[in-house]
Each structure stands twice: as C-alpha cells, then as structure tokens.
C-alpha cells in the first residue's frame, strides 16, 4: 500500500511542477511610445495591389503626421515617400537628387543609416557623413546594409532589421530620426501567416524642431 502512496505523491509532484510551466506563450511587442516621438500605427499603403499591378507611391509629412496628396510631389510639404514593392521603399524629398521622388522640387532632404537602437541615437551625424554616406531610399536589405527589412528564406516573410535607425534631414532641413517597425497589419512581433495583410506601416519618428542636431528622445 505504501508503494501506491509513494507513486501518487510522485505523480502529484510531477504534475504540479509541469502545471506551473504550462501557460500560454505571448509574443511581446516592444513599447514604441517614449513621450517625445510620434508613433504611426498601421498606415495603409496601396493595399490590394500586387507585385504585378504595381503599388501607387504615397507621400508622408512629419509636420502634419499625415499623407500628402501626390500633386504636392514637387513641394517641401512631404518628408518621406513610400514607393515600389509594397510601398516598402522609404525615400527622401530632395529637389536636386534625381533618384528622389522630389527631384526638381524644393525639398532639402537627406538620409543616413545608423546601426544603433532608436533611443540610443541622440545626435545627428556631421555634414560630412551626410555628404559621404547619404542614401536616397531604404527598403529590402539584400546585403546592402542600408535596408530596413530582409526576407527570411524559409518563411518568405519580411523581418525588420533590428537596431537600425535612419537619421534624416527633412524637406525643410530639420534633423529627424526614423525607425521602421513593420509593414504588416498590427505590427506583430512575429508574422506567422504568409498572407498577413500588407502593406500597413508602423513606424516612429522624432523631428528636432529647434534645428539642432540633438535627437535624444530620453526624458
């Protein structure tokens, strides 16, 4: 009889130990709000289009935190454009750069890649860096080191490059920093469906209004 009791105790112990470890696993999303930055959630791109039909470019202003009509393309009204596949190529507004969608306009935009976490980017790089390392747009990182996402070869899903921040000069010449978070609806920590709705952009940015290079978003 004691043998059975022993067995029972053992069973209960094992079962309760396992019980504690058995709970539902949540995928935790990072906190984007820092009190200073503007967070944009699920900004829809040209949803419903496909690679074969092409995606209509849209333009976005940091000043109004909204899309700008494409008729204003040659003005300084917008700061970043979302072009090409899935509107995933984020480009600058520069009137003198023929690769920029604002070419021929009044925009003074420029952009450089900083391989640091968003909150650790506290100062815009020098003009030298903006001259030597400027990029016009950032999208798929196929090994170029400047894109904001890459494709996983097994799941065929776009994964954001971590700790990659873009420091920009906006259309009117102010310094800003930008982090692209996701192109999938709801910006999940991990995308688990090949047909997850896209493009819906989640990103955050901070524009230094006083014109200085200070980009600190820490309190």
């Amino acid at each position: 009889m004691t043998k059975y009791n022993y067995l029972k105790t053992l069973l209960i112990t094992v079962a309760s130990a396992l019980l504690i470890s058995s709970c539902t696993k949540e995928q935790v999303k990072p906190q984007l709000q820092d009190g200073k930055s503007t967070v944009v959630n699920d900004l829809p791109g040209d949803v419903g289009s496909t690679i074969s039909s092409g995606f209509k470019t849209f333009y976005f202003s940091f000043t109004t935190n909204a899309k700008i009509d494409s008729g204003q393309k040659k003005s300084s009204q917008w700061d970043i454009s979302f072009a090409r596949e899935y509107n995933s190529y984020v480009g600058i507004n520069n009137g003198t750069n023929d690769a920029s969608l604002g070419f021929g306009g009044t925009g003074k935009g420029s952009m450089v890649v900083v391989n640091k976490a968003y909150d650790q980017v506290t100062e815009a790089p020098s003009d030298n860096v903006f001259t030597s390392a400027a990029i016009t747009s950032a999208g798929w990182d196929s090994g170029n080191g400047s894109g904001w996402y890459f494709y996983d070869l097994k799941t065929h899903l776009a994964v954001p490059v971590k700790n990659r921040t873009y420091v920009l000069r906006t259309a009117d010449g102010r310094y800003a920093k930008l982090e692209m978070v996701s192109m999938y609806k709801g910006a999940p920590a991990v995308v688990t469906d090949l047909n997850w709705p896209a493009p819906y952009f989640t990103f955050r940015y901070f524009v230094e209004q006083d014109g200085s290079r200070n980009l600190s978003t820490k309190d």
Binding site: K3, Y4, L7, L11, L18, L19, S21, S22, C23, T24, K25, Q27, V47, G48, T50, I51, S52, R84, E85, Y86, N115, K116, A117, Q120, G139, W140, D141, S142, G143, F150, Y151, D152, L153, K154, T155, H156, L157, A158, V159, V161, K162, N163, K185, G186, P188, V190, T192, D193, L194, N195, W196, P197
Partner: protein
C-alpha cells in the same frame, strides 16, 4: 448500411480445431508450432502435445506443424460453421532439423508479405487499443504524441501547409502508406495527416530510418503505414459518435461479416468529421489558424477464398474534405477555400501454396485531387494555393518463403506510373519507375539474427539506383538484445522541383522556377525586361539528381524483469545532394528568382529512448525521449570559413556584431533538440474502466531569422518556446461491453502560442459507442 448489418446477422460463425501432435512412435510432441497458413492463427502444443485453435471462420485451410527435430508438415482441414474438429497430427522425426522452432502466431498480413516490424531499421506499432484509449480522431493527433515525431507548420508554403517531421526530416521525406501502398497528395512536400481518420485503423506501423530498400523513393526519413481492418471472424456492427469543443463531431458507422459459408468476408465503414477549427493568432478578428473543415470517409474490404490456395482481397477508401476559412485581420477580409478528394483502391490475389510459398499479386490505384485558392474579398484578387490532380498506378508481385525454419526471403517486382496535372506547371507531367527488391530475415542462431536486403529501381528520368540495407541483432543475455543497422535512402526530385513556375504576388513577388522550366522561363522574364541581374550560379542550374541518404542506427533493448523494458537507439542520417532553393537572379524591383539546386549535405543525428514499465496491476507507464542534432553541413563550413553573411552574429542586446562560431548555429528551423513524452495508462478490468494521462514535451525550436540576416539560426533569432501538452482520457464499458462511453481532454491546460498556428487549444470531447451483436 443498416440493411447490410441485418443481412449478415444470421451468419455468425466460429469453428474450432483441436488435437494432439504425436511422433511416429505415438509419443506426444510438446512445443510444436501449429499454424493455419491462411490466417496465421495458431500456437504451440502443450506438454501433452495438445493444441487448440478457436475462432476460425468456416472454410478450407492448410495447417502447418513445425517442431524441433521433426520434418515440417502440412495438413488440409475443412471447417464448417460452428464445427469443433478434432484433428490428430503425426510428425516424422528428422535429425537434420534441430533448430529452435519459430513460433509466429502473428496474424498473416494479406497486403504485405513483409512484416514491417522485421526490417533493419527500428520500428514501432501503435495498436487499435492504444488509439482507442487516447480517444484521438485524426492521424496527426495520434502521431504527434509519439517519440521523435512532430507536426509542424511550413509557414513559407502557406497557412494550410502542415506535415509530419520524423527524426528531424521534413514531411516530404516520410512515406505515408495505406496497407503497404503509397498515398499521394502533398502541399509543397507537406502531407497533411489530418485528412485521415483513425476510426477504421487496425494499427499504425512506423519505421524510423531510411527504408528505401523496401519502399523506394521518398522513404528517406522513414515510413508510416496505416493498416486497415484485415480479419473478419464474426458478424458485427458498430456505431459511435463523439462531440466536443470547436463543435467537433466525429461519427462512425461500421459493419462486418463473413459470407458464402465462410468463404468470403467483408467490412465497410463510414466516418463523418467536422470541426470549427481553432485560432492561435490574436491578430485575427475572424478566421482560424487550424482551418475548419468537414470530411467524409468511406472505406471497406472484401475477401473471397477462390480455392484452398487462392484468396482475393479488395480494399477501397474514398475521402473527401471541404474547408472554408474566412479570415479578417480587423479588416482586409479574405476567404481560403479547399476541396480535396482522395481515392485508394487495391485488388490483391493471395496465393498460399502448401509448400509454404506465399505469393501476392496486386494492382493499386490512388487518385488525389485538390483545389485551394485564397480570394481577397476587397479586390476579388485570387491567390492560387494548390490546384492539382495526381494519379498513381502500381502493379506488384511479392513472394515469400521460409527455408530451414530460420530464413525467410521475401522478394517483389513491380512497376508504377504517376501523372500530375498541376495548374502551376505548364502541361501535364508523368513519370514511371520499375523496381525489384528482396529481403532476407535469417535467424543465424539462438543469439544472432540478421536482416538484409536491397532494392533496385529504374526511373524514367533518373535511371537506376540501388539501395541496400543490413541489420544485425545479438542477444548475449536473455535480458539484453544489441542491435545495429545501416540502410540507404533516396528521394527523386518531385514534380514541383522540376516543373514549378510560380510567382508569389501576395508574398513579396519572388519567383520560383523548377529546374526543367528554368532556362525558358528566365528567358521570358529577361525578354519582358523584368530581370536586373543574373547571378553566376544560374549557369550551374542543371538536371537535379536524387537526394541520397545513409542511415546508421545502433542500440539495445534491455529487459531486466518482465515488467520493465528499455530501448535505447542512436541514429545518424547523412544526407547528400540535399535539394534546396537558391537565388539565381534579381528582378528590377529587387525580388528574388529562385530555382532548385543539389547543394548541401545535411546531417540529422541523435538518440531515441523508449521505456515501458508495468508498474502495478493494470498500470502501465511508458516514456520516450529524443535528442536531435539537425544541421546543414554547408552552414557549418561557411561559419568556419567566414563566408559572406555567415561570418558574423549580431547581438541586439549589446548592439555588437562579432565573428560567428560553429556553436552559435542552433540547427535547421522547426527542429527541437529535446522532445519527450510520458504516458500513464490504467485499466481496471472488473469495472471496465480504462484511462490514460499523457504529457508531451517539445523543446524550443527555431522559427525564423531575426535581427540581421546571416543565413543561419543564431541565438538571437526567433524561437518557439519549449512547452508541455497534457492529454487525458477515460473510458468505461457498459452492457456486457456492448456500449462504451468516453471522455477525452486534449491540451488540458489550453497551451497556445501564435508561433504554432497548427496547435489547437483545449479540446474536451464526450463519446458514445455501441457494438451490435
């Protein structure tokens, strides 16, 4: 169905043979094996030479008697319904026959003369009783609780791509057989086992390790054989229904009976299953990650004894599944529809000669048709999923004979023709292959047994290939058996790898081209001005070679006491010519163009431990564990050499990039290093109560790359966390075992993870079963 049962009610039959085996001097012969050749029924004689075989269907039989020191002997017997025949048998002594008699009372299998538990590689059997105790409904539910097996989603092939992983091999490398013949119908290599009901299954046989020696291409990881009901001895009918969580209904109706005075027997069963599915994704406002579906299955078998020597067997199965998954991520609604039909049929002539030679001649046909598309309900844009019809015809003759009471040789010869009509391939495709195989199972002495064999296959495209295998077991002590085996496997490229022309407009716009279509399709893209760069490896695209593997396995079975047994087995699978996709070109928009290459070598190695212990009367504890290392050798070499992206690992916590080490490499995605299970089953016979409690553990496994792309899973990538699943069931029989009620709970603590879209939450079902006659 009911009419059928009424009709067969009158013909219940159960004859019996008994008698004494004596030698030429009239002395009783103890320990002689008396077996009915046609049915395999039988046993050993007692001290007084007596034997009894009961529950025999009326008919004409050959009864074989084997005894040490005596000549093997076959006697003919005619049995009428309910007859008790007394049959004394006299045997002649033979001094050349002093080997121990092999008493094999296993029921003889009309569908396959090779016993799947007698092949070089380790095997296991899941019995009808075990399946019933678990209360499982579909094949995937049964298999995912077995050691070393896992059901995994293939995210990159769409939300419906799910399959069985065995010893770390993807679903495409495990052959799924029904009564010894291959089933077809895969989604990018993934075989969705939930389309198969376990209601009418007699047992499931699993071989882990390369088995191409017997089964040919695709049996590289192993084999899962579904054995449907084979032997009918009396008229009976059964009706059962289960209902529970997610509006799951599992209803079964089956009837079986002998007919034509015991010369024939038949069995037919129907199954209806439906489920609302389950959603593991909190971002889905509507729709499921385990899709809802309705499925009908009808399956049956008819057997007719043409003569004392020849028996005809017909088996058939038809299953149909319809599934609609309306999804919405708080907007962006889509509908994902699937319709699939699955047909399997066999005509078998079994010839059992009195010399002991058994011959099986078989024609097998399977047809699988599927249509699956996703429609965007806003734009009405249709994304094609899987749309194809596949046929496989196979003719095979198998022969088996035992020599010197110790060596069984089974050989087969056959040919098969396969057609594929897939919307994603230009035109209909077909292939043909012929095969010849032989296996010898030799009991060398009381301590040593050897199993060896080979298969020669000639494929219309890939030419000939030879796959040998060899296994040995040695029993130095009564309680210890040592085993070692080596076997080879191969897998010819599938239709998809040859003919696919696919551009994923929904998921990034990349294009995948089968190697046979590659040159023409790349030219089309170039002429259309879509290509921006063609990589140097494009010139290396050539005819794909079959993938090959060598499996090594070694271990022991230790049985210190009758109530306790432990099995330990190490395995090592070395895969060559592993087929993988690689980028060959870029389109103007930056999208990749992929094709297939025989590139890397991979290895999958580990340890498989299984134990069972009869802890107390009625209480059995069984446990299993698998340790697995699944790695791509190409990745290991690239890390060592510091090639390209492989050279670095990025730590997002410190924002540091450093030189990668081989130890940073976790292995192939979707593979857990540790998997374990434990099962308690309790049976209290006087009250007709049985119950099980099962715990399954799966260690963490890689989901996909994260942070920075470096081509392999490093410690900072996305992993699915380890987890435990608890399952329990309890059953009670009533009304003299005519009725049974059952309560089942799967995933008792409702464990969910959105990274495991295919794992349902808690399911509680209640069931009622009634047996007629």
């Amino acid at each position: 169905m009911l009419l059928y049962i009424n009709h067969i009610q009158a013909q219940s039959s159960s004859a019996q043979i008994q008698g004494t085996v004596t030698d030429d001097k009239g002395n009783a012969v103890a320990g002689a094996a008396v077996t009915i050749i046609q049915t395999g029924q039988g046993g050993a004689t007692t001290e007084k030479g007596k034997y009894t075989i009961s529950n025999i269907t009326a008919g004409v039989y050959h009864i074989r008697v084997n005894a040490i020191g005596y000549r093997s002997m076959v006697v003919k017997a005619i049995l009428k319904t309910n007859e008790h025949l007394v049959l004394p048998i006299s045997v002649e002594s033979d001094m050349n026959m002093l080997n121990e008699v092999n008493i094999n009372t296993k029921k003889y299998n009309p569908d396959n003369l090779i016993d799947l538990q007698r092949t070089p590689m380790p095997s296991m059997v899941i019995t009808r009783k075990q399946i019933e105790q678990m209360g499982s409904r579909r094949l995937d539910e049964v298999l995912k609780e077995q050691t070393g097996l896992a059901i995994v989603n293939d995210i990159g092939s769409g939300a419906r791509a799910i399959g069985l992983q065995m010893q770390g091999f993807d679903s495409g490398y495990t052959m799924i057989l029904i009564d010894g013949q291959p089933m077809t119908g895969r989604n990018s290599g993934n075989f969705d086992l939930s389309r198969i009901t376990v209601a009418n299954i007699e047992r499931i046989e699993i071989i882990k390790g390369a088995s191409s020696c017997l089964f040919g291409s695709d049996a590289m990881a192993g084999v899962v054989n579904i054995v449907t009901r084979q032997h009918v001895s009396q008229s009976q009918g059964m009706a059962g229904v289960r209902y529970g969580t997610f509006n799951t209904v599992d209803a079964n109706l089956e009837g079986e009976s002998p007919f034509a005075n015991g010369k024939g027997s038949g069995y037919i069963a129907g199954n209806y299953y439906r489920t609302d599915g389950f959603n593991a994704n909190p971002y889905l406002s509507e729709g499921k990650t385990v899709p809802p579906y309705t499925s009908y299955t009808i399956q049956g078998r008819a057997k007719y004894m043409l003569s004392t020597v020849n028996t005809l067997n017909f088996t058939g199965r038809f299953a149909s599944r319809h599934s609609v998954n309306d999804k919405s991520y708080t907007g962006s609604p889509t509908t994902d529809k699937l319709d699939e039909d699955d047909l399997n049929g066999s005509a078998v002539l079994n010839t059992n000669l009195s010399s002991g030679l058994r011959i099986k001649s078989q024609y097998y046909l399977t047809r699988y048709a599927t249509g699956q598309n996703i429609t965007d309900l806003t734009s009405n844009q249709v994304t094609p999923g899987n749309n194809f019809t596949q046929y496989l015809h196979r003719g095979e003759v198998q022969a088996s004979k035992m020599w010197f009471n110790s060596l069984t040789v089974t050989s087969g010869i056959g040919t098969q023709y396969e057609t594929m009509d897939n919307d994603a391939f230009p035109g209909g495709k077909h292939q043909q292959n012929s095969f010849l195989y032989s296996q010898g199972d030799w009991k060398v002495s009381n301590k040593v047994g050897v199993i060896g064999g080979f298969r020669l296959e000639h494929h219309s495209r890939y030419g000939s290939s030879l796959t040998p295998s060899f296994g040995i077991n040695y029993q130095p002590l009564k309680m210890l058996v040592l085993k070692a085996a080596i076997a080879t496997g191969f897998k010819t490229p599938d239709f998809r790898q040859l003919y696919l022309v696919f551009t994923n407009f929904a998921g990034g716009g990349y294009t995948v081209l089968g190697t046979e279509q590659f040159a023409a399709e790349l030219k089309k893209l170039r002429d259309a001005g879509e290509i921006s760069a063609v990589f140097p490896n494009a010139s290396k695209v050539s005819a794909l070679k079959p993938e090959r593997s060598v499996s090594y396995s070694a271990g022991f079975t230790f049985t210190p006491v009758a109530a306790f047994k432990i099995d330990v087995n190490g395995f090592y699978n070395n895969v060559h010519n592993f087929i993988n996709t690689d980028q060959v070109a870029s389109k103007k928009g930056g999208q990749q163009v992929f094709t297939y290459f025989n590139i890397d070598k991979a290895f999958l190695s580990g340890l498989d431990v299984g134990m069972s212990w009869l802890a107390a009367k009625g209480l059995t504890i069984a446990a299993g564990y698998q340790l697995l290392y699944a790695k791509d050798r190409g990745v290991v070499d690239s890390i060592k050499a510091g090639t390209g992206n492989y050279a670095t690992v990025y730590n997002p916590n410190t924002s540091e990039e450093r030189r990668s080490k081989v130890s940073d490499y976790f292995g192939l995605t979707n593979r857990s290093r540790h998997m374990a299970n434990i099962r308690f089953s309790y049976e209290y016979e006087p009250k007709g109560i049985t119950g099980t409690f099962r715990v399954n553990y799966r260690g963490k496994y890689g989901f996909q790359e994260s942070n920075r792309p470096n081509g392999f899973l490093d410690p900072y990538d996305t992993y699915v966390a380890s987890f435990f699943l608890f399952n329990a069931s309890v059953q009670k029989t009533l009304l003299n075992k005519h009725m049974a009620i059952q309560l089942t709970a799967d995933n008792l603590f409702n464990y969910r993870d959105m990274l495991m879209p295919g794992q349902p939450g808690r399911m509680i079902l209640a069931g009622l079963k009634y047996r007629f006659f």
